[in-house]
Symmetry: C2
Amino acid sequence: MDYISTKENKTIKNITKLLSSAKYRKQSGEFVCEGIRLCKDAVLSGAKVSTFLFTEDAMNKYKDECEMFISYAEKSFCVDNRIFSGISDTDTPQGVLFVVKTLDKSDDFDKINKNGIVLALDNISDPTNLGTILRTAEAFAVDSVILSKGSCDVYSPKVVRGSMGAVFRTRFTVCDNLAEFIRDYNNIGTSYASILDDKAQKLSDIHFSKPSLVVIGNEANGISCDVAETCKEKLFIPMSGKAESLNAAVACSIILWEMSK
Amino acid sequence: MDYISTKENKTIKNITKLLSSAKYRKQSGEFVCEGIRLCKDAVLSGAKVSTFLFTEDAMNKYKDECEMFISYAEKSFCVDNRIFSGISDTDTPQGVLFVVKTLDKSDDFDKINKNGIVLALDNISDPTNLGTILRTAEAFAVDSVILSKGSCDVYSPKVVRGSMGAVFRTRFTVCDNLAEFIRDYNNIGTSYASILDDKAQKLSDIHFSKPSLVVIGNEANGISCDVAETCKEKLFIPMSGKAESLNAAVACSIILWEMSK
């Protein structure tokens, strides 16, 4: 077992870059997940793990898990507590971390499961929202998630953590042209654009039947014009109070709850 | 108009401390809100503003708003761009900021509006969640929000921002003993504990009538035993998918959506 005692080590430098740069994650085809639970999720989902990094403290505290992770990963390294804390994305690190190969997701329309509920995200930009949305999508049995090209990176550490591992289990794909995707989709199911306009259909009045697709828009700007125009239907969430809008992850969750009923 | 050109200035030091320390906010009875929209919300809600801080760039870009803020605040200071960026809690600061007196919220049971929907938060610890919950509570016309003593500070910058100004408009109070509050409440309305147990009542089967109260628990540990036991009813959100649980703000939003129908 190799022991890393300097942050100048190339494995440490690679992990730091994977944690901070979406561009680098895309280039290298790898991302990082941290903590016992997420590492277990990675193993259970059959993800390819190139590196397992752990501290001596973690090996003492989580012996069984660490031994399993060592046998699962291609390479494993023991590292200084201090170095681990320095690269960790969390306030109270457990001292275990995987470098995982990004999951093979094709944006080929034909390969996506379109029979149930499809969730399309049009330029969701906040990683906390995206993580929460993936977690909720899993809870309400969404079949596929389509992300527009301008959405934030699903492999960002905040998304991976916020998704509670859903990122390993959800079928998702990044789509070059969301409007075109929806145009094709309209041949097999009903597409809904979620908008802030009380002339649209009230969510509470809609009886969803499968297959159906719903689009959630960007936090500040909503759904792009061409995408909204392509959707067969428009829906809005009636609000009885004074607020003008809901957080994007909240709006998405309420809609998925209604669709899953 | 005073001009601040050094971060050693006592106003700057005070703001930095208000942004970073919940304890200091409590001691001084003040908090900070940043950005044109939140400052407008503060004015519209009639909050007492002790200090208005702005950059020259902001004065050029938002002249009308800045002049209104100057006439509204007790004291105003113009500050270096560099210093503003240094203390700002946002990535792309607009260059305006208020120091606001904390709103007078009593935890006196009698003063709280209990006739409609009451939302009780039992040790919600994540400020992003709390901000989102306050925003949603306003959207669905919750009448009062009760926070247990162990919940995170409502005046934290992340809560203020995430609430989209709801913190200025929502009636909320911090309660020393949530179980006791609910015991009293049971004399006038129905209390529900939201729990992760499929033996509880399904949310979709409940017909809510007012007055009613719902408790949302801590992100990791759920609702405290004594609080859950005090509630008349227990409810859970049925999930069709594989995830074990929902994010606390998401669970809260789905329940408030159902209660507001």
